[in-house]
């Protein structure tokens, strides 16, 4: 392992930024619910469900500093199986920048610059992301350390300044009768986004104090959960029953927000958040994927494949997620299933590794 180190604060802000970015774009969870409040409950349940996942992965990754999750997988499961697992998770890692870039491209085309081809946004952002990823985790960490507070402030200020348009009455009713079945889809959607946290398997070995990794990951998870709930409440009480019809929730909220009667141009803020948040998120996962590939195929330097990965990601998101409907279909269908499968796989593996290691420790040799 090389000497790159990130601090605890950088880890938390990185995770928060990564998780909040999809929330500022297409918030698909709120589109698939029948009544908006279910989305709110789904947010809470999804966050709660993510806790064991994050805990187990963090435990498995932070247990032995200097050895990544993948190295341990390959050690415990043997090389061929371990490599397959590595490839699986790498593909999962690459799906996230794919989605984020597709989402950003569609959002820009829908809301801000309808005449510009989506290609431009995706390629420019993929270039920036690959560039940051190539310069290594410490640079990405520094970026997110600055951007995450900015993004969180932007989101909170949008929520705060649209308060005079809110009607908290829309938070009722909480359930339609016989509505427990309605929860399945939104909860799995929320949870699917939280599986992005599996990236801590790559991050924790680089933490300057690996032991704090578990606590920090959980802290980031809870911060995200709280922010998402706040945003969700703001959106539901502002848009009421139209919440699930809106394509870009945070953007719509930004267009509603105003300070007094003179400042009502928060769209600019959203645009900057989209650009920076998406580029950083894509950078994190391109870096993680590059690192994972390096691990799986024992490459000397993994930074060199950042650009090719950026290329691949932008190519795929331009061919497969180039319309809003395709993006929507993907993010509510295959993505949820794939991420759920990955979550099960990673959780299982983490458990298995933990048990195997403990057995090894108890009877050495």
């Amino acid at each position: 392992m090389n000497h790159v180190r990130i601090t605890q604060r950088q880890l938390i802000s990185l995770l928060v930024l990564v998780r909040m970015t999809p929330q500022t774009l297409n918030c698909t969870t709120l589109n698939i619910v029948r009544i908006p409040t279910i989305g709110l409950i789904a947010d809470l349940i999804g966050t709660a469900l993510a806790v064991p996942l994050v805990y187990l992965v963090a435990k498995a990754s932070a247990g032995r500093p200097g050895e990544t999750f993948f190295a341990r997988t390959r050690r415990v499961l043997g090389k061929p199986v371990g490599t397959i697992v590595c490839v699986w998770i790498t593909i999962f890692f690459l799906l996230i920048p794919l989605m984020v870039l597709g989402s950003v491209g569609n959002s820009f085309s829908t809301a801000i610059m309808p005449d510009t081809p989506m290609l431009v946004f995706v390629v420019v952002l993929a270039f920036l992301a690959a560039n940051a990823a190539r310069r290594g985790l410490e640079v990405v960490g520094r970026l997110s350390e600055v951007l995450a507070p900015a993004v969180v402030t932007a989101l909170l200020s949008i929520a705060v300044f649209s308060v005079n348009r809110m009607d908290f009455g829309y938070l009722r009713p909480i359930f339609l009768p016989g509505g427990y079945g309605d929860l399945v889809a939104p909860v799995s959607s929320v949870f699917s986004y939280f599986t992005m946290f599996t990236v801590i398997a790559m991050l924790l070995p680089h933490l300057d104090s690996p032991r704090s990794g578990i606590a920090n990951s959980l802290a980031a998870l809870l911060i995200c959960g709280a922010l998402i709930v706040i945003m969700c409440i703001a959106m539901i009480s502002t848009f009421g029953p139209t919440t699930n019809a809106i394509v870009l929730h945070a953007f719509a909220l930004a267009r509603t927000a105003s300070i007094g009667t003179f400042f009502e141009r928060f769209e600019v803020l959203m645009m900057v958040v989209w650009t920076t948040g998406a580029a950083t998120t894509a950078a994190v996962f391109i870096w993680a994927a590059a690192e994972a590939i390096g691990e799986a195929f024992s490459l000397r330097t993994s930074a060199a494949i950042a650009y090719p990965l950026g290329w691949i990601v932008s190519l795929f998101s331009l061919t497969s997620l180039n319309t809003t409907f395709r993006f929507f279909d993907f993010s509510t269908g295959p993505w949820v299933i794939f991420s759920a499968a990955t979550a099960v796989l990673v959780t299982g593996l983490s458990l298995f590794i933990a048990i195997a290691d403990r057995r090894k420790e108890t009877n050495p040799g």
């Binding site: 180190r5 801000i112 610059m113 310069r135 640079v139 350390e145 300057d208 003179f262 141009r265």
Partner: protein
């Protein structure tokens, strides 16, 4: 030409003269002195670089007065040589040189060479004296409050300016020579014990690597040792102000002085330093807190205003309030160019005006500003070539860019502004945001002599944020920059916040008085204009600089190996 100084004085004469190609400013004189035996002494120096009176008084007169007759034993040349060196020569600094090349170097540096016949070694007397400029108010970094002296072209004067501010033996000065032909003196100045040894080693290595034939200005050295040669951003801080260099030394930085250049180089440099003026440290913190914020905003304005204007008016009209959008549209009606071209043309004219103003004598320079700003601007709007809004935007940009204290950063901003404007013409605000983000990546990845360039913003170093975008009061800035001053980070003692005596009836003798006094001292330490008191302050509170207490404090200072 022989390699070493010869015992034959005539041979030496020929060597020296031929080495200088019989240059007319070379003075070589052979003095024959003494009664019995007579001895010959060769004196060589360069006219104009030496104090002629001093040569006559302290070299020629003692040689002439050397009375060999009184001595019983006929003295050998070696005896005369020793006698001259140890007793007679009335020069403050006498060195010996045996290699002819060294002798020549000293002669061309303004020393006087004294060669006694029969001795294969030369005495080098320091009699340097040439026209120097007295320290003046630095023209590129003027300050309203604070010392009014700046570096001169003479390295000795410059080191003396620093010595006067830091009267401590721990101010170490290492000298080396760079330049195969110009043989320019370079001084590496630092505070031993505060400066980071790694940085220091890096500086030594990089300067040692430099192979050039001549070095005329510190700017040349800067380009040869900087970290990111292709970057638009300077990774070496340049300044003309001794107080600024002294302050930087106290932060653990290393200064490099170059003979012949009134500009000192300070490394490692961080981005925010380029936005700081020395005055920020001398004014009360409330004022500098505000002024730094203003400057920060002005920096963003200077960088991005034209591009944001172009982007919003050509791509995102919905983001303007209705009255404003109609007003701008009315102004633009009839303007023949697209807004991006209009902005670029105006920026180009502005740059031409600026450059013209710099090149012209001051008297004519003001005429340029009148013709350029007033007549051209107004006429262009009236003629319908440009819109009034664009003139306002570009003028505002120009004024904002004048608030940037350091020239190297304002040059960077000038270039980036054009890049941003072009991109905004293509891609609107998305382009602006993307370019700024790319810049951010670049800045976050850059280092200056091992220190992250964008520190303390990326990585965030919480204690250092006290002296970053704004400045905390002096009594709150207890630590030197954490990543730079690695080993000795405490600079101000505890409880330095001045408070009035609690009750006038019972003044607590030690506490309040001492506190008030030390706060005064801090103020002075900032501008370092009163080293006496500063010395006494460290006497009173040895905790601040002393190495012994420094060890005590080390565990308390939060040091992390952050990169």
């Amino acid at each position: 030409m022989s390699v070493f100084v010869s015992r034959e004085i005539s041979e030496n004469e020929i060597s020296i003269k031929s080495a200088f190609g019989y240059s007319t400013d070379l003075v070589v004189r052979i003095i024959r002195s003494g009664e019995n035996p007579r001895f010959s002494v060769l004196i060589a120096h360069i006219d104009g670089l030496v104090d002629k009176d001093l040569v006559a008084r302290s070299i020629i007169r003692p040689i002439g007065m050397k009375d060999t007759a009184t001595i019983e034993m006929p003295p050998s040349p070696a005896y005369i040589y020793d006698d001259l060196r140890n007793r007679l020569l009335e020069s403050s600094e006498v060195k010996e040189a045996t290699r002819m090349a060294d002798v020549l170097l000293h002669i061309s540096s303004g020393d006087c060479a004294v060669i006694v016949e029969g001795v294969d070694s030369a005495l080098i007397c320091s009699v340097r004296s040439w026209m120097t400029r007295t320290p003046e108010n630095p023209t590129t970094e003027p300050a309203i409050k604070g010392p009014k002296e700046g570096f001169t072209e003479t390295i000795r004067v410059n080191t003396s300016l620093l010595r006067r501010r830091i009267r401590d033996p721990r101010l170490w000065i290492e000298e080396t020579v760079v330049g195969e032909v110009s043989k320019t003196d370079i001084a590496i100045v630092y505070l031993k014990g505060i400066a980071n040894e790694k940085v220091l080693q890096e500086v030594r290595e990089r300067i040692g690597r430099v192979k050039v034939d001549s070095l005329q200005e510190s700017g040349q050295l800067e380009e040869l040792i900087e970290d990111a040669p292709w970057s638009l951003f300077a990774t070496v801080l340049t300044t003309e102000r001794p107080d600024k260099v002294a302050g930087s030394l106290f932060e653990g930085r290393v200064a490099i002085l170059v003979d012949g250049s009134p500009t000192a180089l300070v490394v490692p440099a961080t981005f925010l330093q380029f936005l700081m003026a020395t005055e920020d440290y001398y004014q009360r913190f409330t004022a500098s807190w505000f002024i730094r914020l203003v400057r920060g905003v002005a920096f963003l304005v200077a960088l991005a205003l034209p591009s944001v204007y172009v982007a919003i008016t050509t791509y995102h009209q919905e983001m303007l309030p209705t009255p404003l959008v109609l007003s701008i549209a009315a102004q633009r009606e009839g303007v023949p160019f697209p807004a991006a071209i209009e902005a670029l043309t105006m920026i180009f004219f502005l740059e031409v005006l600026l450059e013209g103003g710099v090149r012209l004598p001051t008297a004519v320079g003001s005429a340029i500003s009148i013709v350029g700003a007033l007549i051209l601007g107004q006429a262009a709007v009236e003629a319908g070539l440009f819109s009034a809004a664009m003139v306002i935007i570009v003028a505002l940009t120009a004024i904002a860019s004048f608030t940037i204290p350091l020239f190297s950063l304002s040059n960077t901003v000038r270039i980036l502004r054009i890049v941003l404007t072009i991109v905004s013409g293509f891609l609107g605000l998305f382009g602006v945001a993307a370019v700024l983000f790319g810049l951010f990546i670049h800045l976050a990845a850059m280092r200056s002599f091992g220190i992250p360039y964008f520190e303390p913003l990326a990585p965030v170093v919480l204690p250092d944020l006290k002296d970053a975008i704004t400045r905390a009061p002096w009594w709150a800035m207890k630590q030197r920059p954490e990543l730079i001053a690695h080993d000795n980070v405490v600079r101000i003692g505890d409880d330095q916040k001045p408070t009035p005596p609690r009750s006038p009836q019972k003044p607590s003798p030690a506490g309040t008085v001492g506190q008030q006094r030390s706060s005064q001292q801090k103020q002075q330490k900032g501008n370092a204009s009163n080293p006496d008191e500063q010395q006494s302050s460290s006497d009173q509170r040895p905790s601040s600089l002393g190495p012994a207490t420094q060890k005590e404090r080390q565990p308390r200072s939060r040091r992390k190996s952050r990169r």
